[in-house]
């Protein structure tokens, strides 16, 4: 271990990269940029899908709630890597309109990005759905009754009474799901997306300075993690309702 540590040369980051795009430091930052871009766009997809499916699961209508349950089961029981390969290799072949658009209208780089975004978004959406569902279910049943009794329609009750409080309750778990997306984004390296973990592998391959590369990238992932957690604490404080802690009054 000690001999390894003694041999580290962090100066490698200031050397020009093999693809002549700048220094290796910049090379890694490009990867970080793509990781963040992918994570944020996948999160938007996941949040929307998760909210819809989560709400579906709380409805009394058995057809709708089974559809919601089915979605969650499908996306939770297939490995993420398999789902990614399905989005990248399989769906463009077998789904008509989407497939043509994907194969013909997108550059390869964008193909990787779109496939990864849809994969992470739908995968995480299933997890977000479970949290939205448990958030809504943790509210007292009287809230829904009170809203309905006032003459609000069911959708008004969800939008104006149930969801505003449910979202506040689940902010910590939603943060953790976002961080999961950031970590899971690393699988996109397998289809060639130029995200952070792939850049670290490329750097290692071209300079043989594997340790420096991995240490830097690990530190970057850790940094993103820390930053998001601090931001989330800030959001939690801003959204807190006076006297209402974690669903209890």
């Amino acid at each position: 271990m000690i001999t390894i540590a003694a041999g580290l040369d962090f100066g490698i980051f200031w050397q020009p990269a093999f693809d002549r795009s700048g220094t290796y430091f910049r090379f890694l930052l490009v990867g970080l940029q793509w990781t963040l871009l992918l994570s944020i766009s996948a999160w938007i997809v996941a949040f929307i899908i998760g909210s819809i499916v989560g709400v579906l699961r709380t409805l009394a209508n058995p057809v709708l709630s089974t559809i919601g349950a089915g979605y969650v089961e499908i996306f939770r029981n297939v490995p993420l890597l398999v789902q990614l390969f399905l989005w990248y290799f399989v769906f463009p072949e077998i789904i008509p309109v989407f497939g043509t658009w994907f194969k013909q209208d997108l550059r390869p780089g964008l193909q990787q990005f779109v496939a990864a975004m849809l994969c992470l978004g739908t995968f995480t959406g299933a997890r977000v759905a479970e949290q939205v569902r448990s958030g809504i279910n943790s509210l007292p049943g009287g809230q829904r009754a009170a809203g309905l009794a006032l003459g609000l329609t069911l959708s008004q009750v969800y939008f104006r009474v149930l969801l505003p409080v449910a979202y506040r309750i689940i902010i910590p778990t939603l943060t953790s799901e976002f961080l999961n997306i950031v970590k899971n984004s690393a699988v996109a390296s397998t289809i060639g997306l130029v995200e952070l973990s792939r850049q670290s592998q490329q750097l290692g391959e071209f300079t043989a300075h594997w340790y420096e590369s991995f240490i830097a990238v690990t530190a970057l992932y850790g940094l993103v993690n820390l930053t998001v957690m601090l931001l989330s604490r800030f959001v939690e404080r801003y959204a807190r309702l006076p006297g209402y802690v974690g669903g209890k009054q």
Binding site: Q143, A146, A149, L150, Q249
Partner: protein
Amino acid sequence: MITIKNVSKWYGDFNVLKQCSTEVSKGEVVVVCGPSGSGKSTLIKCVNGLEPFQEGEILIEGISVGNRRTNLPKLRSRVGMVFQHFELFPHLTVTQNLTLAQCQVLKRGAKEATEKGLRLLDMVGLQTQAKKFPTQLSGGQQQRVAIARALAMDPIAMLFDEPTSALDPEMIKEVLDVMVKLAQEGMTMIVVTHEMGFARKVADRVIFMDHGQIVEDRPKEEFFKNPGTDRAQQFLSKILSH
């Protein structure tokens, strides 16, 4: 104004309401009492369609509650309901609680809704709490706001589901005072409660329920002086000995 005709309800195999029938006329105050499990809360929740029922009919000003074609939200906006656990919306201020349904359901303008809300807050004695959040209020204060919230919809009748059961004893009076005032102003009310003092003061009729059936349905004086059945007699003696 409100007609309940032969209403029966089952939760699975359990027959929770058995052929319940009664009528409430405009301006009448009807108190519904009975032991726990008698179905009184369930019955009142059937009146505004919060609970479905399998047999019978409930009419509010001629409109059938159980009919699939009835516009239930619209019907519910005309009948106010007050819940045992207040059920104010915790993410909204007191004022916002009062204006939400006015704006969303009755399509009133924000200014008009707020004025109405504040007037009602004044009526229940809480005008200083307008900007507070429900969790910052005591139970009695929350329930009074809940009553104001229901009144803001200008209902033709008010339903109360054990409005004081979740309150500490020292706060019961402030809520009952509001309800008494409401009754004296001529509001049609159905009140599920154990508070016999309230019944004696303002009720017109008392309904006694047991095991899902309406066992007694008599004018207040008759009920208190001489309840017809043994069960009602037993219940009353237990309640009144407090």
